[in-house]
């Protein structure tokens, strides 16, 4: 049942939704962008006018139905308008990761045969010109920010301003054009191509239709009863479907306001100013916020620290229960209210989470401790499950049924099944149409009965909630046949603020070994407070004191694992601290920062061998690629440690 004020079913494409909002709430803010220190607002009617002009202009440039238009840059209102304008013409938007290097982009340009790119600034234009050497069909490049581009005279380069001028002329001469184009769009048209980061192999273009995207955002909107008054902050790449759904598709359905930060470095400040009411972030962002809080608390005075510790412990027991509206005694409620004044409220405010009605995390399993931290603060953080291929929403946790280890029951319209090998299968209106130009890959994931094979291993618990254990392909067995879920172990390690990334090995081996990446900020801060001098990352990561610190974390993880009979054998026997940060530029992480375990195992084969070979130290040399494409070398001799392991704890009856 549609809520009042919700878009009618006749508005079945994003451009039609835009025009509908421009009619029913013309002055309501659609987009805000902080520019020159001030939040500038674009109302729905302003956005609609802009899209009209731009669509006409793109038409004069030769964009026709079915064309692919690349959109590359930070979250900027003009890029949002460009995406809408392309879609109004029946073209397909291809949002791409703005921090990808030119060679990484070439594949997408070739695969989708892209002739038009609308990009943010000089940095992206330079990349486009590099891409064009291998993809000559890329004929038109539009840029938003003209800075530094004054003397570029390459063919096909045009500024957003110039394009807009053409749009004004065109609209004056062809006042009917836009509405005619709008009417041509239907729900079954392809809205966008999302290239998946691909933990394995080359990125594949996921074809999503308006029908699929709009159906899923409708389900999500109704699920949490969201309305046009929500505020969201758009600060993650638009190429990631998570951000695209929350700040584009769902905003266009619901009519809420999307806020674009001033620059990537001001996000936390801007978030505090906006106070989003609907928030979505992958676990690493929540992890980053927690690390900041922890660092600040370590620098705080004794009284504050004691208060913080007490109320966080108390909050872990009570906060979640209060959020879930479970019975809690009046005295505890009172004590929690005091904590809210002293600790929870101020922390929420510092993090910009004061106004959050619903926050979601997805994309990766979230550590139980991390998850409960936010819930004990009184932030209604919930989990959902989905992927690019399912237009995000497959499972969502309803209020009152939130748990750290599951992702909730299937969302409206979704059918769920667990295959015999443990893989999660999904049937939903939000499924991808296909992978672009890749029928084999499509056949691999979409079977004849319409089930999508997610590649995740999971199980449905007694309440019908889905529990994801790991990637189906990654779950392995130790040599003695017991379960080995690497991500589970890595997540446990990563909960420590001092540890940024971890990679666990153990499939087919007798024991588990791990690589650890320190968090430079947190450990650097720790070292400074101890008066421990260091020259840089490599030096800090190699300090014996730092190794001791990490060893302490590993011990705690082992103690935890020992308590779980299924996982007691997965205790970490040996570990090392890597001399360089794992980096997407070196292909060690995906663009969404998931560790590429197999690639890392190959790249650092010597280290893995040294760990299992029982050596005490190992020399290693690694190539690193800088952002501008230059290549350098980092070398270090790493110390390998053996961790303390615990005998399995017998479970109390």
């Amino acid at each position: 049942m549609a809520q009042e004020g919700m878009a009618p079913t006749a508005a079945d494409t994003f451009p039609k939704l835009l025009i509908w909002h421009a009619r029913v709430r013309p002055d309501h803010p659609a987009l805000r962008e902080k520019d020159l220190g001030v939040w500038q607002t674009w109302s729905w009617s302003q956005l609609a006018t802009e899209v009209r002009l731009l669509a006409g202009a793109l038409h004069t440039q030769g964009v026709v139905r079915g064309d692919h238009v690349a959109i590359i840059g930070e979250n900027r209102p003009r890029l949002y308008a460009a995406m809408l304008a392309s879609q109004a013409l029946g073209a397909v938007a291809v949002p791409m990761y703005q921090d990808a290097t030119a060679p990484q982009m070439v594949h997408v340009f070739q695969d989708a045969q892209i002739a038009y790119a609308i990009v943010e600034d000089q940095e992206q234009v330079d990349k486009m010109l590099e891409v064009r050497e291998q993809c000559p069909e890329l004929a038109h490049i539009v840029f938003d920010d003209p800075r530094g581009l004054r003397n570029y005279d390459q063919h096909g380069l045009v500024s957003y301003e110039q394009l807009r001028e053409r749009g004004i002329e065109f609209a004056a001469a062809n006042p009917q054009f836009f509405d005619e184009q709008l009417a041509l769009g239907v729900a079954s048209d392809t809205a966008a191509l999302f290239y998946t980061s691909g933990t394995t192999g080359r990125p594949k273009g996921v074809v999503q239709t308006y029908a699929a995207l709009i159906d899923r955002v409708r389900a999500a909107t109704e699920f949490d009863q969201l309305g046009p008054d929500e505020d969201v902050l758009a600060y993650l790449p638009l190429a990631w479907i998570g951000q695209n759904i929350f700040s584009y598709a769902q905003a266009l359905y619901t009519g809420y306001t999307v806020n674009c930060p001033e620059s990537p470095s001001t996000v936390s400040n801007d978030m505090r100013e906006i106070g989003p009411t609907y928030y979505f972030a992958p676990p690493r962002v929540f992890e980053g916020m927690l690390t900041q809080v922890m660092i600040r608390m370590e620098d705080a005075g004794r009284v504050k620290r004691k208060l913080f510790e007490h109320f966080m412990q108390f909050g872990r027991r009570i906060g979640g229960r209060i959020l879930d509206q479970k019975p809690v005694s009046a005295l505890w409620r009172l004590w929690y209210a005091l904590g809210d004044i002293l600790i929870y409220g101020p922390i929420r405010n510092q993090l910009g989470l004061s106004r959050v009605k619903v926050a979601y995390t997805a994309g990766e399993a979230i550590g139980p401790d991390l998850f409960s931290f936010y819930r004990s603060l009184g932030v209604n953080l919930k989990q959902l499950y989905g992927s690019t291929e399912t237009a995000v929403f497959v499972c969502m946790q309803p209020d009152g049924q939130v748990r750290a280890d599951s992702v909730g029951p299937p969302a409206a319209g979704v059918e769920l099944r667990i295959a015999d090998n443990g893989e999660v299968l999904v049937r939903s209106p939000g499924l991808l149409k296909e992978y672009h130009h890749n029928p084999e890959a499509t056949a691999d994931v979409l079977d004849a009965e319409g089930w999508f094979h997610t590649g995740d291993a999971g199980l449905l618990d007694a309440d019908g909630h889905l529990r994801i254990i790991d990637r189906a392909a990654d779950v392995g067995r130790l040599a003695d046949g017991t379960l080995f879920a690497p991500k589970y172990i890595e997540n446990k390690l990563k909960f420590f603020p001092q540890i940024k990334e971890a990679v666990a090995f153990g499939d087919g081996r007798a024991q588990v070994c791990a690589f650890v990446n320190i968090d430079f900020e947190a450990v650097g801060n720790w070292a400074e407070r101890r008066g421990l001098p260091y020259t840089g990352y490599v030096d800090l990561a190699g300090k014996p004191e730092v190794l001791d610190l990490v060893a302490g974390c590993v011990d705690k993880v082992n103690a935890d694992l020992a308590a779980d009979p299924l996982l007691a054998n997965s205790q970490i026997h040996r570990f090392l601290v890597l001399h360089k940060e794992l980096d997407p530029d070196d292909d060690e992480l995906t663009r969404t920062r998931k560790v590429r375990r197999r690639f890392i195992a190959q790249k650092y084969q010597v280290l893995v061998d040294a760990l299992y070979g029982g050596r005490a130290s190992q020399y290693v040399e690694t190539e690193v690629r800088f952002e501008d494409g230059r290549v350098g070398k980092v070398a270090a001799t790493l110390q390998l440690r053996t961790a303390r392991t615990f005998s399995p704890v017998a479970r109390a009856a």
């Binding site: 220190g37 800075r147 530094g148 470095s265």
Partner: protein, 263 residues
């Protein structure tokens, strides 16, 4: 990076046969050169070659004992620094000259002082025209903050920023004057490679976006060669080379000076 731009050939600044002495020490001897409008002009030379003295001469801190300086055709034998500022000459300093306890925003705002018209009292009370004026100035300053990509530090005290960022703020303060001629005293000194590259980009962008003429001093030759249109080379207070980066690079006198051959 190759620079192919069309310059206005007219000289903005002309120094003719200028000499400068401190007691018996000859800091500069018989130096002649000009700066054309919209160009990036580098002055290089080994330590103690007289680079900073020459900059101070242009800026009006020192007066030449012989020779003359003309700016926009007006000949001056002596110009006070505040006059230079009024004429549209701004500079940055090798050893930073910022208010460490003040925010980035306020530091750059100080660069607007010369442009403020309303009285002290009106400004303090923020009434009428003073409030409007402040908003206008703030807009200029915000544009500079955006340009230099220091939005995240707007409210931070300058003293807490890294050296590279402080240099950027110093440049911002000079830009707030909306200068015609910008003098940069070793803008890249003490920076790491990445910070140097950033600074180069900002200098090129200032030159291109605002059309500002830039004179910069640097002893790191490689940096200068990439971004300047013409290079003046000093050694022991004398001019030993002047021309495009390629000409200077091929000049035997310059090679000798930099390789430390006998004079």
């Amino acid at each position: 990076m190759s620079r192919t731009r069309h310059h206005n050939e007219s000289a903005l600044l002309k120094v003719e046969r200028a000499s400068l002495t401190f007691g018996g020490v000859k800091a500069l001897t018989d130096i002649s050169f000009d700066v054309r409008e919209h160009e990036i002009r580098a002055i290089i030379g080994p330590n103690g070659a007289g680079k900073s003295s020459l900059l101070n001469l242009i800026n009006g801190v020192y007066a030449p004992v012989a020779g003359s300086i003309s700016y926009r055709g007006q000949v001056r034998s002596r110009m006070h620094p505040h006059e230079a500022a009024r004429m549209g000459i701004a500079r940055t300093f090798q050893s930073l000259a910022l208010f460490k306890g003040m925010s980035v925003l306020d530091n750059i705002m100080t660069g607007r002082t010369l442009k403020m018209r309303s009285g002290l009292l009106a400004q303090a009370l923020r009434i009428g025209p003073a409030a409007r004026e402040e908003i206008a100035h703030r807009k200029v300053v915000e544009r500079i903050i955006d340009f230099l990509e220091i939005q995240a530090y707007r409210r931070q005290a300058v003293g807490t920023l890294s050296y590279g960022l402080q240099k950027r703020v110093d440049l911002g303060r000079a830009l707030a004057l909306e200068p015609e001629l910008l003098l940069l005293d070793e803008p890249m000194a003490g920076m790491n490679l990445e910070e140097k590259q950033d600074m180069c980009r900002f200098i090129l962008d200032v030159n291109e976006e605002f059309g500002t003429t830039i004179v910069l001093i640097e002893h790191d030759m490689s940096v200068v060669m990439d971004i300047s249109d013409r290079v003046l080379v000093l050694d022991y207070g004398r001019k030993i080379g002047d021309g495009t980066p390629d000409e200077v690079r091929a000049d035997q006198n310059v090679i000798n000076a930099y390789l430390g051959l006998a004079h």
